[in-house]
Structures are given as structure tokens and as C-alpha cells.
Symmetry: C2
Subunit: 460 residues, 2 copies
């Protein structure tokens, strides 16, 4: 009898390692091979701004699972510093290059998982190759930025892109003693939020001495004689001196392998997967930031690369492959609703579900919103704490479809109560009726969520 062909996973970070771990748990006797280009697996990418800020002292803390442990304890066959070159779906083969000895070889797979993640988008600007210009996507990027700050002790920094990562790193750079300028191409930062909510956040960020230039079109990046970044030149002619530039204008899926293998792609060229995480080839699955994800509220496969979705897809990918091999029932991915949170300075920001952007992009009808500014704790509690909550609901059936929250400590996690409400089809009345907790240090008697629900009721 021929030995069983291995299950191969391309990519060893969030989704890939979740899939691998799940597969070994379900099928301990099967050979599960993980091909990872880099030196690290399974690290907390979302923690990197807090490493760059100096709050997390040692980058090793960001590594959730050490390679030795993945191999010895979980029995995963790990191939670090190996790059997948091609996939041949007909022959069920992955071509691999060992980046150490430059040797190429091929692995036959039984089932394949593509978990190649995403790459930072780097704009094509003159001077973008200057020393001191960074992205923050992989662990090695965080290490490079930290080393640069320690060695060069830059006083001035520029962040290109005012999204969640941009504003998180703005705080990190301020903590490292730098002047920070955010250059945002759009007329406002944090475009994931509604316009009014992004303004609330912007005002607070500016109060923390961050300079924000909106509608900023970058012409070029100037270098000094040593090849280090010296200034960023805008189309307007404005020149901004800097010793450090972070580019954080978004990510794109690493889907070239899949594309070349003829697999179907979806939104923004992400690998299209069905509710079982299967690609257009029945033996190839995909998960995480390289793939589309099912949006439960919009009933669409979209490109929304977020950590929990990636981990959940990875795990479910592993479970479903194991189920297929064992002849058991596969599970449907439950779908995401785009919940995201961030922290910048003393501000917590959270969003879930549908907002202004989604209504516009998908031309959604019968959706209305209401918003409040309230206390996040009892009004008389000494550390007074403000919170803004906006609630989106369907005007026909009153079902809650989205929310945005900005406020001080204790604000962001409130989004989860809205998430639960959305998942369970709660109406505005349902939310208003809930017996939410009350304790002066955390909440007023009428929690802001109850207050916003009550206000939404009045709109009926």
C-alpha cells in the first residue's frame, strides 16, 4: 500500500497554523506539512503597534507558538524558510523552494490549504525605497522599525495612511518621543467609520499632538546622501521633514499562486472560497487574509482581512478537511459582520456591521441610524468618561444591523453586545429590553446601549 499523501498548508501564520493544529488534533496520524517562507510562525500581528511603542519589550512575546513546539507538541511537519512556487491542481503537487539551499522540489498533496496571507500595499512613489521607509505587516517589519528607532533615534516621523494601523502607530511613535504627521489621501482619516464618527476620533487624535494632513497626495520622498529618508514632498508643494516613514495604506491578498493555478478569485483578487472554505478546486481550501470571507449581513463574499475571521476560517478549514477525510459532516462558516476595534491614545474605537460606507457601496435601502453622546460610567463617577454610540437598524423590521462606538476606557467592548444582538436578529425593542449590567465604575444605570436603543425607538 502506498503511503497516504500529506495534507499541505502554504503559510504558517494565523489561518495556516490554526488549520494545521486542528488537522493534527483531528487526524493525529496524518502527515501535515506547513510551508512557511519566513522564520516565524503564528505571531500576533495585531500586537505589533504595541511592540513598536515599546509597551511590549520583547518581540518573542508576540509569538503565540514557537516552531519547536509546533513540531514536538503538535506533530506538525514544519518547513520554515521554504517558499511555495506553484500549485498543480491536476497532479495535486506543490512546487517548493528551500530558501536556505535554493533547492527546488515538489510535494504531492492529498488536500491543500492556501493561507498565504496578505501583503502591505506599497505605493509607487519616487524615493519609496529610501532607508527609513517601512511597512508594518510581518513580524520582521516590526523588528526592523524597532531596531531603526533604537539606532537612529528619529525625532520626526510620517505615517502614510490614517486607518486603524495608522492611528495605532501614531500613538506608538508619540510614545517613542517622535513628532508624528499622518498623511491621509482621503478628505478624512478612519474612513471605515462614518464621517461624523471619524471626525470625533480625529479631534481627539489631534489633541494628542499628532499632525494630520488630509487630502494629502504624495509627490515623492527625498533621501539624504546616505540614502535615508529626509522629507516627504506633497503635490501641493509642501515639504515635510522626516527621519522615519511608515506606509500603512492597506493590504492586498497574496493570491498569485492561486491565480496561476487557475483558481477562481473574488473581491480584490482574493481567493474565492465557499461556505466550507473550499476554492474552485475541490481539493484546495483557502483561509485567512488571502481569501474572501462570507459577510453574514450582506450575504456576500468579500475581502475583509481581520484576525478573528482568519483564525476562524483556518480552524474550520482544518475541521472540514478532517471531516471530509473521516467521512463526517462538514460545517458552514458562520460568516462575519466586519467587527473591528482599535485604541489610540485614550480613545477606544469599534465598529460592527453596516454603516455609511456599506449603505453607499451596496446601495442598501430602509436603513436608518441614530446616535447619542453619553456617559460610559455613572455620571457622578470621578473619572468621567464619554462615549458616542451610533446604532443602525432596518426601518421595516427594526432589526439592528450595525453600530459604531467611540469613547474612553470600557467603550470598545460594548460593541460585542451589539454583535450578539445582530447575530440573533434582535430588534431595537429587544435591545432596549435587555437587563444589562450596572455598576458606577463601568456603566450608568441606563447603559449607553439602552439609551441609544430608546432613541432609536422614538424614530419609529
Amino acid at each position: 500500500m502506498l503511503p497516504e499523501k500529506p495534507i499541505v498548508i502554504i503559510g504558517g501564520v494565523a489561518a495556516g497554523m490554526s488549520a494545521a493544529s486542528q488537522l493534527k488534533r483531528q487526524l493525529p496520524d496524518r502527515n501535515v506539512i506547513v510551508i512557511e517562507r519566513g522564520d516565524y510562525i503564528s505571531y500576533g500581528a495585531c500586537g505589533m503597534p504595541f511592540y513598536v511603542s515599546g509597551e511590549i519589550k520583547d518581540y518573542n512575546k508576540l509569538i503565540v507558538l514557537k516552531p519547536e513546539k509546533a513540531e514536538s507538541e503538535r506533530g506538525i511537519n514544519l518547513k520554515l524558510r521554504h517558499e511555495a512556487l506553484y500549485i498543480d491542481p491536476k497532479e495535486k503537487i506543490v512546487g517548493v523552494k528551500n530558501l536556505e539551499n535554493k533547492e527546488d522540489f515538489a510535494i504531492s498533496y492529498d488536500k491543500l490549504v492556501i493561507a498565504t496571507g496578505s501583503s502591505a500595499i506599497v505605493p509607487d512613489i519616487d524615493g519609496i525605497d529610501a532607508n527609513g521607509v517601512f511597512v508594518l505587516k510581518e513580524l520582521i517589519d516590526g523588528i526592523k522599525i524597532n531596531n531603526y528607532i533604537e539606532e537612529k533615534k528619529p525625532k520626526k516621523s510620517i505615517i502614510i495612511g490614517g486607518g486603524f494601523i495608522g492611528v495605532e502607530v501614531a500613538e506608538s511613535f508619540v510614545k517613542r518621543g517622535m513628532d508624528v504627521t499622518i498623511l491621509e489621501a482621503a478628505p478624512r482619516i478612519l474612513t471605515v467609520l462614518d464621517e461624523d464618527f471619524s471626525k470625533i476620533a480625529e479631534d481627539s487624535i489631534v489633541k494628542n499632538s499628532v499632525n494630520i494632513i488630509k487630502n494629502a497626495k504624495i509627490k515623492k520622498i527625498n533621501k539624504n546622501r546616505e540614502g535615508y529618508v529626509s522629507e516627504v514632498v506633497l503635490e501641493s508643494g509642501e515639504k515635510i521633514e522626516t527621519e522615519l516613514v511608515l506606509v500603512s495604506i492597506g493590504v492586498k491578498p497574496n493570491s498569485e499562486l492561486a491565480k496561476n493555478a487557475g483558481l477562481e478569485l473574488g473581491e480584490r483578487d482574493a481567493i474565492l472560497v465557499d461556505r466550507f472554505l473550499r476554492t474552485s478546486d475541490e481539493n484546495i481550501f483557502a483561509a485567512g487574509d488571502c481569501a474572501t470571507v462570507y459577510h453574514k449581513l450582506l450575504d456576500k463574499d468579500l475581502y475583509i482581512p481581520l484576525a478573528l475571521g482568519a483564525n476562524r476560517q483556518g480552524r474550520m478549514c482544518g475541521e472540514n478537511i478532517a471531516a471530509i477525510i473521516k467521512g463526517e459532516k462538514v460545517e458552514e462558516f458562520p460568516g462575519i459582520i466586519g467587527t473591528s476595534m482599535t485604541k489610540t491614545f485614550d480613545l477606544e474605537i469599534a465598529k460592527t456591521g453596516i454603516g455609511e460606507n456599506e449603505i453607499k457601496k451596496y446601495n442598501l435601502k430602509d436603513i436608518e441610524s441614530t446616535d447619542i453622546k453619553y456617559f460610559a460610567k455613572a455620571g457622578y463617577y470621578p473619572q468621567r468618561s464619554k462615549i458616542w454610540v451610533k446604532l443602525y437598524f432596518n426601518t421595516k423590521n427594526k432589526k439592528i444591523v450595525g453600530a459604531q462606538i467611540i469613547g474612553n476606557d470600557g467603550s470598545a467592548l460594548r460593541i460585542d453586545t451589539v454583535v450578539a444582538s445582530i447575530y440573533m436578529g434582535a430588534t431595537v425593542d429587544d435591545l432596549y429590553s435587555m437587563d444589562l449590567g450596572y455598576c458606577p465604575p463601568f456603566s450608568p444605570v441606563w447603559d449607553p446601549l439602552l439609551v441609544v436603543a430608546r432613541q432609536a425607538l422614538k424614530k419609529e
Copy 2:
């Protein structure tokens, strides 16, 4: 035409003022009279431990609504320092004493709301009348304790009763520089929680230098020559020196007026109200800590005096009376599930729904629990933060029926996501499928609620 008889409300704190405000909003032309024994209305009773701790400097901050404002802005006819003596349901009359001039008079009512609240239970112990022995129920109690601490500068204190108020005030007294001993009659403190969870809390409280004596039966309280408390003597013979005693062993409903008027009483002699907040007399309503409250999960009218339920009952009472008068539809009280939260030292504690106590008391079947200890933030985040979560679910239909949470900052409000799940009939699978928020300073990728749900799934 005879003038319309007024709507009378007995009691001007949480439920009473909520009812009065709602009535004036709905029926601005009606005379709404509030009879209040004390000097203050509408204060945040739950904030008193934080006033006693010195965190809230001025007790006026606890007053949500000043009497002048209630009269001038809301048009409420406020009778402070007036005591209701009797209710005559047949004649629809309330007998009232003006506590200033001692005059008695009667008010005819159209509709009556009883919102007389609750009183601290004071045990019948020799010496309980000593100076320096306090309860903490009304605003005046908080003011007295604060004044006593400022004048006498006590070094040692005893708290009789280790419930939520007891452990909150323990922190307050430590903050005021006192040694604190909690005397608890039961074999454990925080008996509202499951035994294992109360132990977790106890261990943490003890670490904050609070002395806890369990199974403590108090024999008597000794006074010094000036009549001030000097020591508490236990049945065991142990004597504990003290200069200050707080009695916090629970509350009882102020239902004498209702009882004497022949109204039906419910659990623990609380005034029995239906889902519309009506008592056994069709013209008399009751709300707040003097009344029963409908428990949605247990489908029972219980005595669970908590702030949000009281405020909600009061508001709905006002709405329903207005609706009856206007010939509109009355609303059903949605019911509570007993959500409660507290903070003591660096610990946040929350409970909702069914736990060990409810299973025992109501002999509930087919309910199981699972619990985890996890990170409340990303595991690598510098201020590491622990959280314990226990989830109760029905083994037949997998519906979530309760939860208990203990942990550091950001733990307690997570209970609200469970509350939403319970209200909407979510199963363990539903909870596990939710796209909860993730950001390293607030939450790990897999929020503790997802982790506990996953563990519950394994129990299937």
C-alpha cells in the same frame, strides 16, 4: 366640572422619580404629586461606596435631579419631608404627614404609584445602637459615614455582611486608611456567586489586606463609655476591636403601607405586581425595590431589588398609567434576568441569569456549566489581565441561561454580551459563531466568551 384628581407617587428616589418624570412627559397638564419622606430625591444609591471611599468628593454629585429642577423643569409637584401614613384604596386616598409642621392631611388620587423602596436589614444584636454603627442605604447614610470618618478618623472597621455592598465598601474603607474585617455569617462571601467563583473573589480580596471571617455569628457589640462602638464579640468568643461598623446584610421591601391597605404581597413580602406593574388594586401600581419583579428566565415574580430593574419599572409604570388615562396600549415589562456587577479593588465581578443558587432553589433540571480561566486581553499585552468565565446552558436545547465573570479591568461588561445572548435565545453554537471584536489592549483574538462557548460545545 370637578378638577381631575392628581396622580400620586409615594417615594422620590429611582423608581418614583422615573415614574413621575415619565407621567409629566406624557401628561404635562396633570398634577403629579411625589411624596418623599427625606430631603433628597433621585440620587445614585449605588455610587455611595465611591463617595465613602473619597473618590466622589461631594455627595451632591450623586444627586441626579435636584428638587428645584424636578419642580421647575419637569413640573412635578414635590412634597419633600412628607410621609405617607396610609392608603385607602376604596376611597382612593393617601394619608400624609408633613414632617416639618407635623400636620396630617389626605390626598385623593386618580392613580397611585407606590415606590417606597427598601430598607437595610438591621439585625437584633445587643449594642447595635452604638454610635459608629451604620447602614448604607439612603444618601443620608453615606453622608453620616463620611462625616464620622472625617471627624473620628477611625483606624479599624468591621463590615457585617460580605455581599456586593460589603466588598465594595471594604475597598472604600481601605482607601480611607482603615483596617477592614468582613464578618460573614455564611461559610463564604459573595453568596450570589457560585462557590468556586466566590472563592476566586475572596482570595483576591484577602490579598488586598482585608480580613475575612466566615461562619461569623455575632453575639454582641460593645460600646465605650461615650457610647461609641469599641468591639464586636462573636459567638466563638473572639473579640474584634473596631471604631466603625457597617451593617450590609441585605435589604427588605418597604411594603407596610401596601400590606395595611390590603394589597397582595409576593416573595419576601414585596408588593406583588403584574407584568404591567399593577398591584392587586387596579388603581395602584408599584415599582422598584418595594415590589416584585418579573424574572424572564425563571418565569416568576421575585424580589430582586436592583437599580436598572427599579428604574425600568418606574418608567414603565409612568408610561402605562399615562397610556391607561389616554386610552392607549399598555406595555408588558420585559423582565429581568438578575444581571449584577461590582468592583472591589482590581477585581470586576459580574453575574447574570441562572447559576448554582437558582438551580438549587428552583430545582432546575438539564442545566450544565463549563468554565475557563483565560486572558482578558491579548496574552502578550503588557498589562496582562486574567478572566474567569463560567457559562450555564440547557443541555437539551443548548440555550445559554447564565454566566459569571470575574477578572481585571474590562471583564465585567462582557456579561452584557451574554445578557443579549440570553434575551435572544442564543445557543452555545450561536455564541461561538459570533464575530466579536478583537484588539490586543481589550481582548485576545478568541475572546474569552468564544473560548468558553467552544468548551461548552465539547460537552455536547
